[in-house]
Subunit: 344 residues, 4 copies
């Protein structure tokens, strides 16, 4: 089943494996008239790239995005924008021993069960490498949203259960132990208008949940007060409405900017919990493809914590969802339709 | 934008407002040959219905499901199954005063911002009443899944942050105070085969996240260890693979039955956090449609906690996602395709 | 597989069998703010209803459309509009003998091969009765289009290969012979703006082709000069552009208002060829479900020619496609997006 | 709006402009286990390539298809298959004068009206060059279908209204006159099983109509007897059922292998009418982007007739539709679902 596309009007399709020649994204439905050049991708791609610190893998790739279509004389034409990112630093030899063994915490076994044939090099399609293409697409969405005043603020808020300032020490310790740590990312969207999202299955928070949960290692998704609502009373959790500069706003923001699946105009508060990197060098029990029990120590280059590089992926996925929902929202009222076509 | 359909092959479209004449669902793509009668819906619908206890509203509706199409001589024909549930106990008069005022914690303001015109009676389309149609559709999915040995176990695991056995006392206290409580629901799916779900945007957990988050009051969705992964080490969170009765299984199940978006064959563990019912009789500050600040005390019949009646909705949505993914998974391997058509 | 929905933003799902209790349509994504009442459907439904003439069946149904949701205080709310049309004049006894026999020219055998179980009464889901729901949905689309000055002109242009004025005589003769006649319908859309349709698979003419071909008995679909282009030269078939009242127009309209899948602003010319009604009372050879060769004479009430009642169905399907494409077209240019949200 | 994807399970997305660096297709949902290499594309691509004869353009491109993902050790893995075809012989200078002028019979004006900004070089996205990517994708579909015994026979059956054997003379004459000719292509599918297609909007012929009409220059689409049904009687057009080698077949095949939108098991007969190439060197009247009336003589390399190179595109689109429908059809019966998962 086709599962590599997301979005309705601003539709993104990604392709590529960790150790293939390239990965890429096709953005179909990008509005015409957007100035776009390879430079637009660099800040976003840089945030996803390993930074050489203790917190990330040693894999080095320029991740320069090539635009193969959909842009003419520096502006989008409304036709598909095909983006290509070459894979240049694969060490496939590191993975040869994984052809016949299932890594714990990875998709290896599931892919084998589903497809009967899989690209085991570096996790193939299930590798975090795939997110490079999402980030490239997200950069385009974020640029468009920025033009209407919408901005994102995304940060790692916990590593191994500790505040981010403790992260370097924690990571050093885990890495030396051959282990890895969980993490949390919070993404805040400022400036989204009220009224975005659709009842009932396409609620804005439902689409955000799907999008963020489609990032490999996410295990929890929360909006606003999130899981804490369990212990709150209605009188605590409800956000009073009031007027501010002639606009309806909420005094507090427990709802995280979304009520009944529709944006309120307040900040959208998204929280994602990432599991610890499953690739660890500590010895683990597992089985082979032939059903033999065995042990495995995973070598290769792996981030000891996922959040730092995944933060921009959360932001990218959120940008894709919000832009698509805002484009679709243009069709909500008959009066907008009529005035659009009367202008013509 | 059309947002009331979910699923690709087993596609469910719901319609209806809280205070309209009826609500309903159209199931398009239900496989032919399924015995189906109104009796199949009753146990599921009963779980969603107020039980007269302290924990639920006093609204009483038989919620008998009428089958208008797609079933002939007691069996589905493969064509759309149209299900109708009449609304019989609306008290619209209770809501007259809500025409011009936004209830805190509700979708009222968002709908007004989006559509400019809304059915304010009982929340209209954003009412929990809408979930009756989902539950009816979910009953069909669950029946089919049951035929392959898949079962669900769903329970309220927290009310107001307290264990369920304390719930009656908590609820009585909150209700008397004119307030409401948050809650948690855990749904466990037994017997799902390995290999279900699709890379990369249609991961099984991503689809479950979207489906469960489309239930109005959900604020957090978790799989397996969920948010707790933040504090776990890779060596703790990874589930070792081993052999059991000739099958590959995981020794533990922190992953909640899903790795890399694909099912492992283990139990699927789904956790949803529900906010406290936003309709409370305590006085709240809000604004009118004309932008005047005011106060509101919400009357009418409301559950003081959402989880008990929503548990079956979580189960229904999970069943819809799993069935649709399993149907699509039949197309994953070329050998299945060829053997299917060679039999013909 | 779900096949009873059409459209992306203005999405219509139909359900119902010829001899079930009712048929219906759910319109999801109808813009909010449209005045809508049962009276809006009557003119459209009347055009589809048998008129008592020689050209139509004797089946009599009021075809009054009930609105079950999505309309409040006489205006659409943006939520699903559920439409119900009761079946009141079925003569199922006429069809009892069809349980085990495949009517030539009908879907009976295909449905049996596909589903293994089918509602044989009156053709079940494959009956022309299903189009009542489409016409109801089309009436809503046509009303909206009318508000921007778009109108439809649809006529039967051939019966049995003869001009329409000869139709009554032809029909009388065929009917007396127990036979039926083919027909042609031409639908002209006036006032559609330029720029509607999307490259490359969602060309406006491709979507119209799909929509019109989804009407049971259609065997050919043509745009503009249609099949005649085979014999034309480029210099004959190309339509020169010129200016008229400050607008770009084509001097001729061989292209039928669509070039490269995008509307030109000229009249859209749609032509559909309908096969002769397959239900005829003349004796025909066929086989039973058990594989026995046999003969059949089909009784019951059948139109001797399909075009006269199907004309409005062609118009309805065309209206659905055009409206959906126009709604989606609102998202084509970045400048429209930005100005839409800056107004907010 | 995203319009460059087609298919549900076997989903194809194309991208690329005539004069960009490359064009390509992403096939998402290709079943795993299919042997696939660049050699598989060559016969199909060769049929689309200009052959140096009088009937085709002089543009020369190797049209070698590169596989960038989704194939591992020579077999598909079930993940997206990204195909790249480089553009190597563009003469953009030929098109510089088209920046500000609308070519009659082309999409230029429509794109300008829709997007406000367009790639005018060689028609940009609306160029026939885009079909290279479709043909590559179609080659994969046709290979899979071939494994179940389904084959295609596709031919140009008319050029300028004359039989194909007269074509060279006709073409020479038209080309010398600076003009172009219409053409007809017939595609016959042998061996498709009965029961393919879905009621009511996803009828097999409706999907074929959409797919074939999405090829730029198609102006008529017919199934079986096509437009000729207008003049036929029911007793002539109905195909009697009979038994042959233990299978239900039709004695004749006026229905073109599809009844009520579902395949009968007989040959599927598809007919497409192509307009004459709109690019002609004869002088034509048109207007500029600034609304000035002017004249144009189109230079550059153009086929004088479209059918010969488009025949394989008709076949490719038909293969895509049929494969996707056959994959989806695996989910039609409950018994198939249950037996699929009981094997597991």
């Amino acid at each position: 089943m086709a599962g590599s596309s997301t979005g309705t009007v601003f539709k993104v399709t990604t392709w590529g494996e960790s150790h293939g020649p390239a990965t890429g994204a096709v953005i179909d439905g990008c509005p015409a008239g957007l100035p776009l050049s390879p430079a637009d991708f660099r800040p976003y791609m840089a945030r996803r790239r390993p930074d050489g610190s203790l917190m990330s893998t040693n894999r080095r790739e320029a991740d320069e995005v090539e635009i193969l279509s959909g842009v003419f004389e520096g502006m989008t034409t409304g036709t598909p924008v095909s983006l290509l990112i070459r894979n240049t630093d694969q060490h496939s030899a590191d993975y040869g021993n994984l052809a016949d063994i299932y890594r714990p915490g990875h998709a290896d076994f599931g892919y084998q069960a589903k497809y009967g044939h899989r690209d085991y090099r570096g996790g193939g399609r299930s590798s975090g490498r795939e997110t490079a293409a999402r980030v490239a697409a997200g950069a385009v969405a974020a640029k468009i949203l920025g033009m209407t005043g919408i901005t994102f603020q995304t940060a790692v808020t916990s590593v191994g259960g500790f505040p981010p300032e403790e992260a370097p020490g924690i990571i050093k310790q885990y890495r030396e132990a051959g282990d890895s740590a969980g993490s949390e990312v919070i993404c805040t969207v400022h400036g989204a208008p009220a009224g975005i999202g659709d009842p009932v299955f396409r609620k804005l928070d439902a689409l955000l949940a799907e999008a963020v949960f489609s990032i490999g290692a996410v295990r929890a998704f929360e909006i606003g007060s999130g899981r804490d609502v369990i212990s709150l009373r209605g009188s605590e959790n409800n956000d009073a409405f009031c007027m501010k500069n002639g606009k309806v706003v909420t005094e507090t923001n427990h709802c995280g900017g979304i009520l009944g699946g529709i944006s309120t105009g307040g900040d959208i508060l998204i929280r994602a919990s990432f599991k610890p990197t499953p690739s660890i060098s500590l010895k683990q029990r597992t089985v082979t493809r032939d059903g033999e029990e065995t042990e495995i120590c995973i070598r290769g280059r792996h981030d000891p914590v996922i959040g730092p590089r995944a933060a921009v992926v959360v932001e990218a996925m959120s940008a894709l969802v919000l832009l698509d929902s805002m484009l679709l929202n243009m069709t909500s009222q008959l009066s907008s339709f009529i005035s659009f076509y009367q202008k013509k």
